[in-house]
Structure formats: C-alpha cells, structure tokens
C-alpha cells in the first residue's frame, strides 16, 4: 500500500515520563486514511501511554501531534473527540454503575429541547448499534458491571464507532473476547478501514496483526524499534523485532 500525501495523524517525537521512568521516549508514528497501523511490543513497552497522548488522557512532555498535516493541541479527552478521535481503552473506561446506553453516550448525551437527557432515544440508538456489533446483546437496562467481559467490550467498541470517528484507537480490543466475537471485531475493523478510517490497533496476537494491519510499529522500553510494511515481512520478523528490539536487516 503506497502512502502518499499528508498522513491523517502524525505523532512526532513524542516523549512522556512518569517520575523519572521514560514511558515513551521520542517516538514517531503516523497513520493514513483507510490504514490500520499495529502498535506492538511487550507489556510495559509504552503502547498504551503513547496512544493516550493522542486520545487526550495524557499530555505529552515533548513532541507534537499533527492531524491532516496541521499541528493540534490535544490537552484533554474533549479535544481529542473534537478531532474525531475515538478510543477503546485497554481498561474499557466504563462507568460500572451505569447501563450500556449511559456509557455509550457518556459526555455526549442526547438531550431533549428542554435540556433533559433523552434516555429512551439513547437506549434505542444503543440497541441499534449493538445489534450490529453483538446480536446476542440483551442486557440494556442493567449496570454494565452485570455484563460479561465480552459484553463490556462490545459496549466500549460501540461507543468508539457510534460517533463517526475518523481516527480510531483500539487498545487490545479483543482481549476479553471469545473466538467468534474476535472474528466479528476483525470484520468490523476491515469494514471501518474500507470506509476510510485510520486505525491504531494495539494487538498481541501476531496472526491478527498479519491479517488486519497494513503497517506495524514496534516499541520496546518506551522507544520505537521500527515500523514495517506488514506484507513485506514475515511474522517471525515482527516477533524478533518485539523480542530483540532490532529491525530485521531486509526490511530496514
């Protein structure tokens, strides 16, 4: 896949540290429309922290973020949402005491002309989107704490795709899912990609990476090991990047 023109997102030279630990150390990655970029690396490599700088959860200590070639300030989650960036967090970030609809619309509630939250419309919309993502989903009127891991993940995914994102960040979206649900997420990713979204996908299963991603950026100890075109390398090449922290010679 030839990426020409301006990238949808560029994270340039991003650094952030927590109390002396450089969680992300001068990392540069980019993402084009209709592209899936895998972010790989061991636990603690800094993947989640990196994407949190884009989603507004953290403010980077250094570096800059460009959207469609223009420098933007993302200092909180609202800024990110305003840039059509949606995120599925590794922790899912659901309010356990609220039901699926309240979580899906949290911070963006549909309100009536009188300014009151329109719960029934929100529930109807939630039923619609979840029917597409997870036809077995039934528990609309219970707090999400009463849902299974897979159902909770469905709610988090529904929230990210409902609001017409242009940039989607998925931090281990299939971690709690069974094989069948994982397959549905894979299909969803391909569908969204075909619609022209750019997707950052943090994923541990190398087969999914090979199947779903166009490029893969590997991180180790907060630093970028390198970025490769997935169709130019083997899964062993990527695994060795993750483990050894070195780019394979032929793809360099």
């Amino acid at each position: 896949m030839a990426n020409t023109g301006t990238p949808l997102v560029e994270l340039r030279d991003i650094s952030i540290s927590f109390g002396g630990i450089k969680a992300v150390d001068h990392v540069t990655v980019d993402l084009y429309p209709g592209e899936v970029v895998g972010l790989l690396g061991h636990n603690g490599a800094g993947k989640s922290t990196l994407i949190k700088c884009l989603s507004g959860a953290y403010k980077a200590d250094g570096g800059e973020i460009l959207i469609n070639g223009e420098k933007v300030e993302i200092s909180n989650p609202r800024d990110a949402r305003a840039q059509n960036i949606e995120t599925i967090y590794q922790t899912l970030a659901l309010a356990d005491n609220l039901d699926a609809a309240s979580n899906l619309f949290l911070g963006r509630e549909i309100v009536s002309p009188m300014g009151f939250v329109d719960d029934s419309t929100m529930e109807a919309e939630t039923r619609k989107i979840l029917k597409r993502l997870n036809p077995n989903f039934r528990k609309f009127n219970v707090p999400v704490s009463a849902l299974s891991g897979g159902q909770r993940q469905s709610v988090a995914i529904a929230r990210a795709v409902y609001f017409n994102a242009k940039i989607l960040i998925m931090d281990e979206p299939t971690a709690a899912l069974g094989p069948q649900e994982t397959q549905m997420v894979a299909e969803l990713i391909q569908e969204l990609k075909a619609q022209g979204l750019g997707i950052f996908l943090i994923e541990h299963d190398i087969h999914n990476v090979m199947k779903l991603c166009d490029r893969a950026s590997v991180m180790k100890n907060g630093q970028l090991v390198g970025t490769v075109n997935v169709n130019e390398v083997t899964d062993e090449d990527i695994l060795s990047m993750i483990i050894l922290g070195k780019k394979p010679a032929k793809a360099a």
């Binding site: 909180n76 967090y89 659901l94 356990d96 005491n97 609220l98 309100v111 609309f140």
Partner: protein
C-alpha cells in the same frame, strides 16, 4: 413488539428461582425491592411505637388498650413531617456528595454559621435600615442565607476538587471552623425573635397551607404522578421497548395517589389548638365559634422538602449533571476519559450541599424562632446516616434521593418515637439511631449479596 407478555430485558436479571406471584408482581410493576424494604421497616417502626404503650400496659397486668398508642396520630405524624423536613433536605444533597465518593461533615456547622448570619441580619441589621417588619426583610435574609451556604460549599468544593485535599479533611476542618465562627458572630448570644414572615418558613401553626391548600397540593401531586406514568408509557411505546402491563400501571397510579390523598387527609385532620384559633380570630377580626376546626394542612418546610426532593430527583435522573455525578462515582477515571470535567462537577456538588444546608438553616432558625450558635450540632451525622440508611453506598456510585428522604424519616421516627414512649433522654435516642444505622447497612449488604 408491544406485546406486554414478551420477556423484558430485566427478566434475565431476576433470580433463577421459579417466578412466584410476588416475583411476577414486582417484575411487572418494576417496584424497587429496596424501596419496599425501607417502607416496610418504616411501617414496622411506626406500628411498634404505637403499640408499645398498650403492650407495656399488658406487661404490667393492665388491659390491652389500643387507645394508649400516641404515635399514629395526626398530631404526631404532622410533627414528624416537620422534624424530618430539614434533615431530609440536607440528606438529598448528601446523597450526591457520597455518590461522588466524598463526604461532608460540615453541614451542621454551616447551619450554625448561616443561621447566625441570618439571625443578625433580620433582627439587628435590616430593621433599622428598612423598618421593623418590612416585607423585604425575610426575602433578603433567606437569599443571603442561601448565598452564604453556596459560598461556603463552593470554598470547600474548590479545596477538594482543585487543591486535592480529601473531602473528609476539608469538611472536618469546616465543622470546627464554622462552628467557631457561629459563636464569634454574636459572641455566643442567642438572637431572637425572627422576622414574623421569616418564622413562617419554619412551619409553626401559621406556617402551613391549610386544608384547601393541602388539597390543591395533593391534587397537583396526583396529576403529576399520572402524567409521569402516561408519558413514560408513551416513551416506551415510541421506541418499541417492553411496557409494563396496564394493570401494573393502574396499580402504581392508584397506590401513589392513595398515599398522597392519605397524607392530605392526615395533615388536615390535625387542627389548630384553641389558643391559636382565638388568636387568629382576634387578628383577622372574625368571630369564630368555640371549637372551630381549622386544619394545619402541610407545613411550609414539608412543602420545601417535597420541592427539593422533586428537583433533586430530576437533577439526578434527567440531567447531564446527574449522569456525570453517577459516572464519577462509578469510575472517576472513565468519567475523565469521557470528557467530563470532574473537578467542576465536584465543586458544584459540594456547593449544592452548602445551599441545602443554608436552606436547612432557614427552616431551623425559623422553627425555633431564634438563632443560636449551637444550631445544627450533630446534624451532619444524622444527615449522613439518613443517606446511608436510604441505600446510598459509601463506596460511591449509587444512591437515590427518595431513599435519603425515607432514611431521614426512619431516623426522625426513631427519635420522636423514643420521646413518645418515655425515653426522651438524648442518650437513648443516640443508641437507637446508631444501632439502626449499623443494622440498616448490614441488611443492605446481605440484600446486595442475595441480588448478585
């Protein structure tokens, strides 16, 4: 799809056991079982206190005489409603505070200091400026009380939300500081009497809306309830959601209206005392025959409680703000990631608590027709206990306004009941309320385990 027999989503949340008649009934009416439990406990307490004199007379070898009971009388229940009002008003705010995982220990002291400020204002500062008994005095005083309450709350909220000091510490400090200020404001003097109009807010014999007013209030409440049921039903139909069976809707409407009308009959069954009737006749220049029956009707503080309860319920269940309060309690981090300004919400919640403490101060000082620096002492504990007995979880994230009001009613019932059966000494009351608090929370824990 509007088939009333189709399984509703919550069906799967019901216990696995064979759905018996009661389970099906609760399911169809969607009555909160915890609410039912609380109402049951309340009735038990009421009946218990009412029967106590008769039972104790039997124990002493006397006859079983129901006429000895003095709890379930219009007079006592009316008094109970007034006593409950200001604790209930504050408890509705404490629910929000506890939901966002904070606590407010300072509300009793806020009553003290705002009460003193209002007392001085209406008794010593405003009359020389405006003239004694000027109609604006009570309005200015009440507004100042509310504003001072909000400002104290906002200051606490700012320290908690923007300076990161735990709410326990901020409000523990507030408890001491504002009580000290209350004393210093008038060097410990008692300020009395209050402005005549202001005193009506406390709900003395004149601070009531009378029989006709009470019927109007009751009628409006019934209409409101019926409107809610009908509009809820049409909302569900619009979106093809499962609906309650019609009989369940009718049942809820009938029970609700029944309770409202009983309350009206009750407050109207409590007449003014002879002296008050005579005084009223003299004032209005009428000649009223001996034994004229003039109903109290709802007391103004009770109407204030009802108004606050409705407003707070709407706030919590129908507005974004309420949604954010719950979200912060459920998962503060998720709330931030959803773009909610959690600090600002926290500040607003604590400010609101301050405003409600200000309102409570109005009622307390109006009711005792004086302002003292000890006003509201220990009230913070009763307010917190009311919220917790009403099902508010101290872990945050859950609680209801109606629960807190019922909780307040439970506590005040215990207190006034103890007085009626001759254990008026404060120490017995404290023991009983303390026991009830621990017991209520324990039962709640058992209940939650069972529901899971």
């Amino acid at each position: 799809m509007t088939d009333t027999n189709s399984p509703t989503p919550s069906a799967s949340a019901m216990p696995d056991a064979q759905p018996g008649a009661i389970t099906r009934f609760l399911h169809a009416t969607e009555i909160d079982t915890r609410l039912l439990g609380m109402v049951g406990a309340l009735l038990l307490i009421w009946v218990g206190f009412h029967l106590y004199p008769a039972i104790s007379s039997v124990m002493r070898g006397g006859a079983f005489d129901l006429g000895l009971g003095n709890f379930l009388t219009p007079r006592n229940l009316w008094n109970l409603s007034v006593q409950t009002s200001y604790i209930g008003i504050m408890a509705t705010g404490m629910v929000l505070v506890i939901i966002i995982r904070c606590i407010d220990l300072s509300v009793g002291s806020i009553i003290g200091v705002t009460g003193m400020i209002m007392g001085l204002l209406q008794a010593e500062y405003l009359p020389p400026l405006l003239g004694l008994g000027h109609p604006a005095i009570w309005i200015i005083t009440a507004i100042v009380g509310l504003v001072v309450g909000v400002m104290i709350g906002a200051f606490h909220g700012w320290l908690i939300a923007y300076r990161g000091i735990p709410s326990f510490i901020v409000t523990l400090g507030g408890l001491l500081i504002w009580r000290g200020m209350a004393f210093l404001s008038a060097s410990g003097r008692t300020i009395a009497p209050m402005d005549e109009k202001f005193a009506l807010l406390g709900g003395g014999p004149y601070g009531t809306v009378g029989a006709v007013g009470s019927w109007i209030v009751g009628g409006l409440a019934c209409l409101g309830l019926i409107y809610l049921l009908i509009s809820g039903r049409s909302q569900r139909r619009k979106h093809d959601f499962p609906q309650r069976p019609v009989w369940a809707e009718v049942f809820l409407g009938a029970v609700g209206c029944g309770v409202i009308l009983c309350a009206v009959l009750l407050v109207n069954a409590y007449p003014w005392a002879k002296g008050i009737v005579a005084q009223y006749a003299e004032r209005t220049g009428q000649t009223l025959p001996e034994g004229t029956f003039i109903s109290h009707g709802f007391a103004i503080p009770v109407l204030l409680l009802i108004g606050v309860g409705i407003a707070m319920t709407i706030l919590m269940t129908r507005t974004r703000f309420g949604r954010y309060v719950f979200a912060i309690g459920g998962n503060p981090e998720a709330a931030v990631l959803a773009g909610i300004n959690t600090r600002w919400v926290t500040l607003k919640v604590v400010s609101l608590m301050g405003a409600l403490a200000g309102l409570a101060a109005i009622i307390v000082s109006a009711r005792q027709n004086s302002a003292t620096n000890a006003m509201g002492e220990l009230d913070e504990l009763y307010v917190i206990a009311a919220a917790v007995i009403g099902g508010t979880s101290l872990a945050g994230g859950s609680g209801t306004v109606y629960g807190a009001i019922l909780g307040a009613l439970v506590i005040l019932s215990l207190q006034s009941g103890m007085v009626l059966i001759g254990f008026g000494d404060g120490s017995y009351q404290k023991i009983v309320v303390g026991t009830a608090l621990v017991l209520a929370v324990y039962l709640d824990i058992l209940y939650r385990k069972k529901v899971k």
